[in-house]
Amino acid sequence: MEAGTLSPSREPSSAERIREAAREHPARTAIAVLAVIVLAMIASKGLHDVAQRGLNGLTTGAIYALGAVGLTLVYGILRLVNFAHGDFLTFGAYMAYLVNVTWGMPLVFAIFWAMATTAVLGIFLERVMWGPMRSRGAGMLQLLLMAIGLALVIRYVIQFVWSTELRQLDVNRTDTVEFLGLVIGRTNLIVVVIGFVTLVATGFMLRYSLLGKRMRALSDNLDLAETSGIDTSRVILWTWVFAAGFAGLAGVMAGAITQLQPELGFELLLPIFAAVVVGGIGNAYGALAGGIMLGLVIEWSTLFIEPRWKTAIGFIVLILVLIIRPQGIFGRARAI
């Protein structure tokens, strides 16, 4: 672009044209790069391995995406970097444990109970903490440190009640399902299916429902949304219902395929942040796509490096995106 305006007579070289196209269509570029990487991986490691790891990646990716969509909406709408979001996941997982194991009821009830209680927690905190702090005009660091304090309170209340002992939900951990030569645990399959159904439904809700449109309007520009007649405080409450409810669901899903411990959600928080940043902060679709992409990249990385290093991949992706394209793959260039 710059080269073109400086010397309009010169034809841009093909390299320049590609770079410009990449800047214009970052999402398409990202998908194209990903496709090239996948083809290269299939060529070097074989279709079966790539597909099998990819399937695992979709499972974790669905959890990241569900966590990320709530975090990004809260961030976009309330300008709150919610460090307690990971502990919402933990809260949901333990709420499911309460119903599923302690009270011995089916997991379906546990999932709904976890989503409902986490959503109530979200609304409660909005009413007693975030709302009042916003109306006092609290600064970014003030809210950030408050969220960190809240994260500690939630996490260690959970530890106080349930201790650090590893706990398991009452799910089938041995059965596997085979198709096309790929193997997936029955529970993992259920998690992937629930995750994707929820993600697609969320995408449609944001795209077509009035509430979804209002949420995106608030995320874009809160003041403008307010002056155009949207009841912002209502939308904010609904945002918390979705953000916390999905966090609760993601927590149950993570708990179902691994084990419960008080750090469960906090350990997922940075990959979730990575998904948010990859998708562009405040961009809900971006967070959904970013979560899936991150899950895939992390699992595929184990084809080349030892699995013990895979957690670090999430941070490397996060740092690289922040350096190269801080507005995210799907974000528009704004003041970063």
Binding site: A138, L143, L322, P326
Partner: protein, 327 residues
């Protein structure tokens, strides 16, 4: 240090309230966190950069010192300045790309960088000893410690705690650093930092290279983090990745806010208050298991952060006119 937080209470009787060895340990932790949080004060309180990766600088200081001393021919004393230089280099590597970012992105970038360092320490077993950690680096310090202990005994205190010399040294260094930093803050350099904190564009309009100043601020914070890492390592006599969890940085922020922003001496006050309260909880005779008491201390820490942010964001001793959180 986290060990101290999660380990079972030593005693819950009133007589341990006057236990000198116990309070010596608390004093060392408070001194270590003072130095740690001085770096945060320089960054947050005086420059306006939200560094959430301070634990990584502490880790690099501790690991570099331990590894250089045990794995190479370099002496313990030479390893200290080298470790500081390595931490500064890492600070520059982190700062160069991330200091251009908006403040909220910077917070996420620095905490991610810190976690990357911790995971590296956990997984690069050949270099760091992995989860088991590194030890056997403290011989030179131990002999000095014994000499100081001998002097104190000669003064007539027969049962001086073994760690008492470390307490003296950590607070001597902390006070020295507080003095130097306070003096630097009154120089033109220090005033530019404050100008950047108040209005970066205005500082730039006056011809100051804001980015370079912010980078210098982060580099000094890295050096301070590394120094606090030395004292952590000498206190524990080993270095393990679990000592550098993000919560270490969060405790540093609690110390910072408690003492008040834009005050170096406040950091020491904040650190002493916080650690006295956290460790003093052991003397409450609660009918609870040890792990629950440990959880209770972190709940308290969280409530302190929330309460301060809600009701006194400038901290207990901060100056309201210098408050930077409400912006």
């Amino acid at each position: 240090m986290l060990e101290a937080l999660t380990s079972p209470p030593v005693a819950v009787t009133l007589e341990s309230f006057t236990d000198v060895a116990f309070w010596t340990g608390v004093g060392i932790i408070a001194g270590t966190y003072t130095i740690f949080a001085l770096g945060l004060q320089l960054n947050v309180g005086f420059t306006g950069i939200f560094n959430f990766g301070q634990a990584a600088f502490m880790a690099i200081g501790a690991y570099a010192m331990a590894i250089l001393t045990t794995e190479t021919a370099i002496s313990f004393w030479l390893s200290l300045p080298l470790a500081v230089l390595i931490a500064i280099a890492f600070g520059l590597v982190v700062g160069l790309p991330s200091l251009r970012l908006r403040t909220d992105y910077l917070a996420i970038a620095t905490i991610a960088a810190a976690e990357a360092i911790r995971l590296f320490a956990l997984n690069a077993r050949e270099l760091t000893g992995g989860g088991q950690g590194t030890f056997g680096f403290s011989d030179d310090w131990d002999s000095i410690s014994e000499t100081i202990e001998g002097w104190i005994r000669d003064l007539g205190w027969a049962d001086v705690p073994t760690l008492f010399p470390l307490l003296i040294v950590v607070w001597t260094v902390a006070v020295l650093l507080m003095y130097v930093l306070s003096r630097i803050q009154d120089t033109p350099w220090g005033r530019v930092l404050r100008a950047i904190r108040e209005d970066e564009d205005a500082a730039r309009a006056l011809g100051k290279n804001a980015f370079s100043y912010k980078l210098q601020s982060l580099a000094i914070a890295a050096a301070l983090g590394a120094i606090s890492g030395f004292f952590l390592a000498l206190n524990l006599k080993f270095v393990v990745p679990d000592e550098f969890l993000p919560i270490v940085t969060f405790i540093g922020y609690a110390v910072l806010i408690l003492g008040g922003l834009a005050s170096y001496w406040g950091v020491a006050v904040g650190s002493v208050i916080l650690w006295t309260v956290l460790e003093g909880l052991r003397f409450l005779e609660l009918p609870l298991s040890e792990s629950r008491i440990a959880a209770l201390r972190f709940i308290l820490l969280g409530l302190v952060l929330i309460g301060l942010m809600a009701f006194r964001p400038q901290g207990l001793f901060g100056k309201r006119e210098e408050m930077v959180l409400g912006d």
